[in-house]
């Protein structure tokens, strides 16, 4: 009998992570930390805004995490904003700078920034949905001259859950960014808007034909935000949203993230509303 051929590394396995080092870890809220990672040799991740990576901790497993830093600010590093919700993310939260994690990717279709230049931009982020959207927003801010108006709407459940406060402050302080935020429920120190994110829409007037909208948030938010965007007259082909699914393998094989004939991990996670409107399972 011929012996089993165990072939090591002759062929590239798409499931093989590269090692990335944790340079910096910042506690952002009770549940979320932001990790700054570096690939070997400071190699660029080469991601588009809205793409994700599969993060590995050997012995624990692997999970898809969207990249929250902008390619325009990479400096040979990238950032992941991670909520502590499962085994992997719990273990990740226990790591320290200098520790090493596995990374595969970037994967999927992100936001097509080339189709956005020259247009007005309307961003609507809910909760942790700010993480992938931040990578696009900062890219747009860094190329500010290439875009028309920039409007950022952000909603969280509670002031304690507000993410990326430094970025929010920077956007708020800029004259050329219209920034609005709200919380579902305030606390004694909160003086801003109270209400769900859709309550911010009446405040803004836009030219719908020239506006590209990008939104990311929990599944329940989409239905209402999409309604607002459509009622403002933004065409379905100009509304981009990032969908969450169980993107286990990241390369369109394992089947867990399937939405009709699409694999969220490959065909998405960013889709136009026009693309997914007819898909029964999408929203």
């Amino acid at each position: 009998m011929i012996e089993s051929v165990v072939d090591v590394a002759q062929e590239e396995s798409v499931y093989l992570p590269q090692m990335a080092q944790l340079l910096k870890i910042e506690q952002m809220t009770e549940l979320e930390k932001v990790f700054t990672l570096q690939l070997p040799g400071g190699r660029s991740l080469g991601n588009d805004p809205g793409q994700f990576v599969e993060v590995s901790l050997f012995g624990i497993g692997e999970a898809p995490i969207s990249v929250s830093s902008s390619p325009s600010r990479s400096n040979g590093t990238f950032e992941l904003c991670v909520r502590r919700v499962g085994d992997l993310t719990n273990a990740l939260h226990g790591l320290e700078p200098g520790d090493v994690v596995g990374v595969r990717g970037p994967f999927g279709h992100g936001f097509p920034i080339e189709k956005m230049r020259g247009r007005d931009m309307l961003f609507a982020a809910g909760g942790l949905g700010l993480a992938p959207l931040r990578s696009l927003i900062n890219q747009v801010v860094d190329e500010r001259g290439a875009f028309g108006r920039v409007i950022v709407l952000y909603g969280t459940k509670h002031p304690s859950e507000i993410l990326f406060k430094e970025d929010l402050k920077a956007w708020e302080e800029r004259d050329d960014v219209e920034f609005h935020m709200t919380v579902d429920r305030g606390d004694e120190d909160w003086t801003g808007n109270v209400g769900v994110i859709t309550t911010l829409f009446p405040e803004i007037a836009i030219n719908p034909r020239n506006t590209i909208a990008a939104t990311c948030g929990p599944p329940i938010m989409y239905r209402f935000v999409l309604m607002e965007m459509q009622s403002k007259g933004i065409p379905e082909t100009q509304i981009y949203l990032s969908l969450e699914r169980r993107m286990k393998c990241g390369v369109g094989k394992c089947g867990h993230c399937q939405i009709d004939q699409f694999y969220c991990c490959q065909d998405g996670p960013v889709f136009t509303y026009a693309q997914i409107k007819g898909l029964e399972e999408a929203l």
């Binding site: 012995g59 624990i60 085994d87 719990n90 273990a91 226990g94």
Partner: protein, 260 residues
């Protein structure tokens, strides 16, 4: 659990046959690394020392008497992590068969004869009915590899989870001829996997010792078993052999075909 320090582990038993602890003893012999990985401070079946300082408690057996409750609470008080070891602790197992008999008194007399008064007994319960349980290792008896797996997960700081899919999955992965297809009866479609389908692999239908999956379609299972020729009585005894603790659940499902 810290990866570097060896956690202190203790074993306890309540109403059970101690077969699961025996499996643990067995796995300590086949997997010597286990002894390196943890420090066992109390294990009546395997050692005489009785340390009361432990972080992980493995508990075999059901709660069947009032005095069991206090002891369970004591263990819970001390342990950071409580693991239900085996069917009796997990789902009350065969101990709960008495729960579905017409009279507990009759059961006591049947079992203990004229000495019945010397033995306290009330309806059997899984330990989770008395104290909070962090993890379970199902089965009658437990599977040694699953025991190892749970220990590893605890050491890694992972929450040990048991499969929440039916035995059929493992059975088909092994390419067994289906017991139901050959005219037998099997609870595989509604029973929690993790045993590597050991019963059907050896040609015997599953009896449900690992408890039911989270969303079992029991009515459909009843129909299948009825079609396979089981009487309502046989159905009832099959379904309650290990899973009698939730009689409402099962009673309902058993009752409906009978009424038709």
């Amino acid at each position: 659990m810290a990866e570097n320090g060896r956690p202190k582990v203790a074993f306890f038993d309540f109403a059970c046959c101690e077969g699961c602890q025996l499996t643990v003893v067995d796995s300590l012999q086949t997997h010597l690394e286990l002894v390196e990985a943890v420090e066992i401070v109390q294990f009546r079946e395997a050692m005489t020392e009785k340390g009361e300082d432990y972080q992980i408690a493995f508990i075999e057996g059901s709660c069947t008497r009032e005095q069991d409750e206090a002891r369970l609470r004591e263990i819970r008080e001390q342990a950071d992590i409580v693991v239900a070891l085996g069917a009796c602790a997990h789902i009350a197992g065969v101990n709960a068969i008495k729960n579905v008999q017409p009279s507990l008194q009759d059961v006591r007399e049947y079992v203990y004869g004229d000495k019945w008064e010397q033995y306290d007994s009330y309806a059997a319960r899984p330990i989770s009915a008395v104290i909070e349980v962090d993890a379970v290792i199902p089965g009658c008896p437990i599977d040694r590899f699953e025991f190892l797996d749970v220990v590893k997960k605890l050491l890694l700081g992972k929450k040990p989870s048991v499969p929440d899919y039916p035995v059929c999955v493992e059975c088909k992965l092994k390419e067994n001829v289906c017991i139901l297809e050959t005219g037998g009866t099997c609870l595989g479609p509604i029973t929690r996997a993790g045993c590597d389908a050991i019963y059907p692999t050896y040609g015997v239908g599953c009896l449900g010792c690992r408890g039911l999956i989270s969303n079992p379609n029991e009515n459909a299972m009843m129909d299948v078993l009825e079609e396979a020729g089981l009487t309502v009585e046989q159905l009832m005894s099959k379904m309650t052999m290990f899973n009698a603790y939730e009689p409402a659940h099962i009673g309902e499902a058993v009752a409906s075909p009978a009424e038709e």
